[in-house]
């Protein structure tokens, strides 16, 4: 018996699952903490423009990379709209097409959905959107929890290279990359978040 391999080691894995990098790899910083703050604040404004009834909005972070981004968006939304929005965290491992179809066995993380998504305008939150496969899995997972009024996608970074007809609604920064590069949101030693290309 062998311990299943980690998803991040596979070239076929959706690239934005489990992406809060902990190892200190050399990398080019393409979005530093101040830029991330500005980007999330602007995205929060755009989310409120698109969804004028703030009580209908729910943020659902895609575990794990989307979680810190959702926290920042939630704080910005609360400051701008003057009310807290419900927040969930969705692990999409059990919905991934390489898990269902091809037997990869990454260890899933916990999902937390402390509200009903039915009737909500669910904003899925990612750190990096790449092939679109993770977003596809997340949409299926959300719909298993109920019937949202709408599903939208917010991502700190869109790096292109879609393999599915998935578009994002709110983008922090579009970054042209090569397919071979890795783009990760990580915590610098100061505790601040930064986006790096490795």
């Amino acid at each position: 018996m062998s311990v299943p391999s980690s998803p991040s080691n596979s070239s076929t894995a959706p690239r934005s699952v489990s992406r809060v990098a902990s190892a200190r790899e050399a990398g080019r910083v393409i979005l530093e903490a101040a830029g991330i703050r500005r980007a999330t604040r602007r995205m929060a404004h755009e989310i409120l423009e698109r969804n004028p009834a703030p009580e209908s909005i729910a943020l659902v972070a895609i575990v794990r990379g989307g979680v810190p981004v959702a926290d920042m968006l939630a704080q910005a939304l609360s400051e701008i709209a003057g009310r807290d929005v419900p927040q969930g965290a969705l692990d999409v491992t059990l919905y991934r097409d390489d898990v269902i179809g091809h037997g990869m066995r990454p260890i899933p993380h916990k999902t937390r959905m402390p509200f009903s998504v039915t009737g909500k305008r669910v904003v899925l939150v990612e750190d990096v959107v790449f092939t679109g496969r993770t977003v596809r899995a997340a949409m299926d997972a959300v719909i298993d929890f109920g019937r949202p009024e709408a599903i939208q996608v917010a991502t700190l970074v869109d790096r292109g290279h879609r393999e599915l007809p998935i578009r994002v609604d709110f983008v922090g920064k579009n970054i042209p990359t090569s397919r071979a590069e890795k783009v990760v949101l990580r915590q610098a030693p100061s505790g601040e978040y930064e986006v790096v290309v490795v």
């Binding site: 311990v3 260890i107 298993d144």
Partner: protein, 302 residues
């Protein structure tokens, strides 16, 4: 993980992988729609050649919550009644492109024998007096859920150690995860050489319970109740049954486990089984999550 035949052959990190996976599976059973698509199109066959409600239903629910198709085979009404050998029957089931075989049998070693004959993952759901690995995994999961970790915890396993596959699997699992395990049983139910498994045999139940963090009460099997191994039910309840009074010997935060089915008033008093320290129904809930984790892991591509 290719098969799950016993805890004895597992590395501690493999056990932790199952428990971590089960952590995520637990939430699925709390949803309104209790199903994820992970094992869509897979076929899981439950071959239960010994009576069981809890384990068989638990495996069936676990398979269905992962979207697998689950089929049940029992001894009565199967071709075993026509004297087909078990190996032949299982090879036929595998030839129907089953993806997982879950096997319970009264004879130790049957799941391993079958695993050597079919190219399908085999899960041992209890074989004779040998092992019951998913019970041990759900026990370890329940302890971790209640106490955070097994490292350095004192576990007392009380009852028919000699004939219990749960005791054997629990001993392997708890010791591999760093717990100190004590066992107590009537002399006729204490296997010689048990200390070779790294556990401490105790003279009395009181000695085993002193300061224990976890108490595992084993079921006294009905067929042994009037046999020669002990003088009687009341005598057993007095010396090796868990009562409210004996519970006070353990740690104040101790939890009580029992693999079921309960013999109320024999190995466990009703007021203990139904009170706060009991995790008996949590074990059943957790059992589904642990079996989902095992099904998920054994169906992975190598």
């Amino acid at each position: 993980m290719k098969h799950l035949l016993g805890i004895e052959g597992m590395q501690p990190e493999e056990i932790v992988t199952v428990l971590d996976t089960a952590d995520a599976m637990l939430e699925i059973s709390q949803r309104e729609i209790k199903r994820v698509p992970t094992l869509r199109g897979r076929t899981v066959i439950n071959v239960f050649l010994e009576p069981s409600t809890r384990t068989r239903v638990s495996f069936e629910i676990a398979a269905k919550r992962l979207s697998a198709d689950a089929v049940n085979v029992s001894a009565a009404g199967s071709s075993l009644a026509k004297a087909e050998t078990l190996a032949d029957m299982v090879q036929n089931l595998a030839a129907m492109n089953a993806d997982v075989l879950i096997v319970r049998d009264r004879t130790a070693g049957v799941p391993r024998m079958l695993a050597e004959r079919v190219h399908v993952p085999v899960i041992n759901a209890g074989d004779g007096q040998h092992e019951h690995p998913t019970q041990a995994l759900l026990d370890a999961f329940t302890v971790r859920q209640s106490l955070g970790s097994l490292e350095g915890r004192v576990v007392a396993i009380i009852g028919d150690i000699a004939h219990s596959r749960v005791a054997r699997s629990d001993i392997y699992a708890f010791t591999k995860l760093g717990a100190e395990v004590r066992v107590a049983a009537p002399a006729t139910m204490m296997p010689p050489g048990i200390e070779l498994l790294g556990v401490k045999p105790c003279e009395s139940m009181a000695e085993a319970l002193a300061g224990a963090d976890v108490i595992v009460m084993l079921r006294i099997q009905q067929e042994r109740l009037d046999g020669p191994l002990f003088p009687g039910v009341r005598e057993y309840a007095r010396t090796f049954g868990l009562t409210q009074e004996k519970l006070t010997l353990a740690s104040p935060d101790a939890i009580v486990l029992h693999p079921g089915p309960l013999n109320r008033g024999v190995e466990i008093a009703t007021e203990v089984a139904d009170a706060e320290p009991s995790r008996i129904l949590d074990q059943v809930t957790n059992g589904v999550a642990v079996r989902m984790a095992v099904l998920y892991l054994v169906t992975g591509a190598e």
